[in-house]
């Protein structure tokens, strides 16, 4: 079944199923087809990083990939690969506030890898390259599993963060901060702030977290507020992603993983965020070999039955719930570069 090319190709799924590998093969396939392609990846295995030619430490820059590293012909298109970096994304999107963000103790910490805001920055990054217009197709390898839902929720979180109630609150906070800085004004401001309950909240917060935190916190909120347009812009991307014409979603799973239940939950939870075409990719399949095998021993028959059932259940599920399904064979007997080359050809079918 041919899969038409869209502007976004989003790979999601639980970790360890070969999601990054399949996203890479898709990007290479599109490059071979003549598209200007960008692959944004989160955390590829060391070997794959080497093959892609991206440095092991994230620089936030896009590097051109040489298809020859995968024993593939030069191809008609172009492929760049980028390793996600929260910091780089931030400085790119908010050049005027980037430094101030990093210097703030709270924001600086949150911007580290695993700082807990990766999904929001993935969305900003995606939006930036979408706006740049440099690429025909962007292939995004999303964080695994539940992270993917976080990614989808990112836009919603941004929206909630900047809702009207919050803006009112922000104004009070800023007054509070100004009040603290200028002593003459302090009494008046604090009085006003107290009447809104903010001062009381900040007082409690200060007891629990320390005074310095409160100041840095107010500064953090203020920085967020001043740079809100960058976040709000990213919201527009949500609508593009929701548009079925522009996006292909690939839910990746492997027969080795006991995943049907979770894959189903992931699909159900993500359904409200998009209406793009959904494809299921089943990786590391042994079905053709299993069907030919005729074991005589009972434990071996049980093994064959269990392995075959797992694959058939997945296929059944795919047929019922997805636009299309693709099965990728187990290629572990090939060396890494040839594994990729072999899988790239699977997209032609």
């Amino acid at each position: 079944m041919p899969i038409t090319n869209n502007h976004f190709e989003i790979f999601c799924g639980t970790g360890g199923v070969g999601k990054t590998t399949l996203a890479t093969t898709r990007a290479l396939y599109l490059q071979q087809q003549g598209f200007k392609t960008l692959l944004i990846t989160i955390d590829p295995a060391k070997r794959l990083k080497q093959l892609l030619g991206i440095p092991s430490m994230s620089t936030g820059e896009a590097y051109q990939v040489d298809p020859k590293s995968f024993s593939l012909p030069k191809g008609k298109g172009k492929l760049d690969a980028l390793l996600m970096s929260e910091r780089a994304a931030f400085q790119r999107v908010l050049p005027e506030y980037g430094q101030a963000f990093l210097e703030n103790r709270i924001l600086g910490s949150l911007l580290r890898p695993y700082g807990g805001m990766n999904e929001i920055f993935a969305l900003l990054e995606l939006n930036y390259f979408h706006q740049s217009g440099k690429y025909d197709v962007i292939v995004l390898d999303t964080p695994p599993g539940d992270h993917f839902i976080d990614f989808l929720q990112a836009a919603e979180k941004i929206h909630q963060f900047f809702d009207s109630k919050f803006i009112d609150l922000f104004n009070s906070l800023q007054n509070y901060l100004q009040g603290k800085k200028s002593k003459e004004k302090k009494r008046g401001f604090v009085k006003k702030v107290l009447s809104q309950g903010i001062g009381k909240l900040m007082h409690y917060l200060g007891q629990v977290t320390g005074e310095q935190f409160v100041e840095e916190f107010v500064e953090a909120i203020s920085l967020f507020y001043h740079s809100k347009s960058a976040f709000i812009d990213a919201l527009a991307l949500q609508n593009v992603l929701k548009d079925g014409k522009k996006t292909n979603w690939y839910l990746t799973t492997s027969v080795e993983h006991q995943k049907i239940k979770e894959a189903y939950a992931l699909q159900r939870n993500s359904a409200r965020y998009f209406s793009g075409k959904q494809h299921l990719l089943i990786n590391q399949s042994l079905l053709s070999e299993l069907n030919l095998w005729q074991p005589s021993d009972i434990p071996l028959q049980k093994l064959q039955e269990t392995m075959r059932n797992k694959e058939n259940e997945l296929i059944q599920y795919a047929e019922n719930c997805f636009e299309s399904m693709m099965v990728f064979p187990s290629v572990t007997h090939f060396p890494p570069d040839e594994q990729i080359k072999h899988l790239v050809t699977c997209w032609e079918k």
Binding site: G16, S109, P144, L201, Q212, E256
Partner: protein, 261 residues
């Protein structure tokens, strides 16, 4: 399995789909004082009976915590209702992890003899969870929360109190990632981490006395790869859990008991 798990706090982590939940639930059946909590599927208990379990949600944990700090439920409820507070929680997932870690430590300090088995989030999120302690310790610097982050940290870094089990699959990449996670934990001062390899075909053949010559080439290939990995990564046979064809819990429990005898 190397040694009996007698730490009061046990985290089971690893990539999605390696059988974390099932393994964690099986551990719960090994100890009458064990209590199961799924942090990876907050609030939703698996279809299979995990034995004794608790069901905590973020909001009630946070309210409880604030109540303890201010000795007033009214204040706690009021703080929780402010849009600022809920916005912070939504934006910063690591703050919610810290809240749960605090809850675990608090629970165990008040229930001597209990064992808490946590079905922890998958690898990346597990690092976020652990980082949340240092992160907030660094952010706060002083105050009540700062003291609490240190209390949590000393509980989690005590090998007699906390154990991490990284469950993985018998492939090179999966084991490598498991070891990376173990190192990442060690760099945060959490030294007590075990790697357990689930779904091992080699172990399945061993337990069912299947000879190599009975295996078709595509499975023999896998079994050979597994054996090479055991040598490469110097993994003990006792760290393998057999491929499961039926009754998941029962077979894991039997293997863990076997390994302990």
């Amino acid at each position: 399995m190397p040694g009996v798990i007698n730490q009061p706090l046990v985290f089971v982590t690893g990539k999605g789909g390696v059988g974390k939940t099932c393994f964690a639930e099986s551990l719960t059946h090994l100890n009458p004082n064990a209590v199961f909590f799924s942090l990876s599927h907050q609030g939703q208990v698996s279809a299979i009976d995990p034995g004794s379990s608790v069901d905590w949600d973020l909001e009630s944990c946070t309210t409880d915590y604030i109540t303890q700090k201010f000795k007033s439920e009214t204040i706690a409820k009021w703080i929780m209702k402010t849009p600022l507070f809920s916005a912070i929680f939504r934006m910063i997932p690591s703050l919610s992890y810290l809240t749960f870690l605090g809850k675990f430590v608090h629970y165990l300090e008040h229930h001597p003899g209990a064992q808490l088995i946590i079905d922890a989030p998958a690898s990346g999120h597990a690092i976020t969870m652990i980082e949340s302690i240092d992160l907030f310790s660094y952010i706060f610097q002083e105050g009540l929360l700062f003291k609490d982050t240190n209390r949590i940290k000393s509980f989690l870094t005590d090998p007699l109190k906390t154990k991490f089990i990284v469950l993985t699959l018998p492939t090179d990449m999966a084991i490598q990632e498991g070891l990376d996670l173990k190192n990442e934990f060690a760099s945060k001062g959490l030294e007590n981490t075990d790697i357990i390899v689930n779904q091992s075909l080699h172990k399945y053949c061993d337990r069912n006395k299947i000879q190599d010559k009975e295996l078709p080439h595509f499975l023999l290939e896998r079994v050979r790869v597994e054996r090479e990995l055991l040598t490469t990564y110097n993994l003990n046979e006792a760290r393998l859990i057999s491929y499961q064809t039926e009754n998941l819990h029962q077979s894991i429990i039997e293997e863990v008991i076997d390994a302990n005898n």
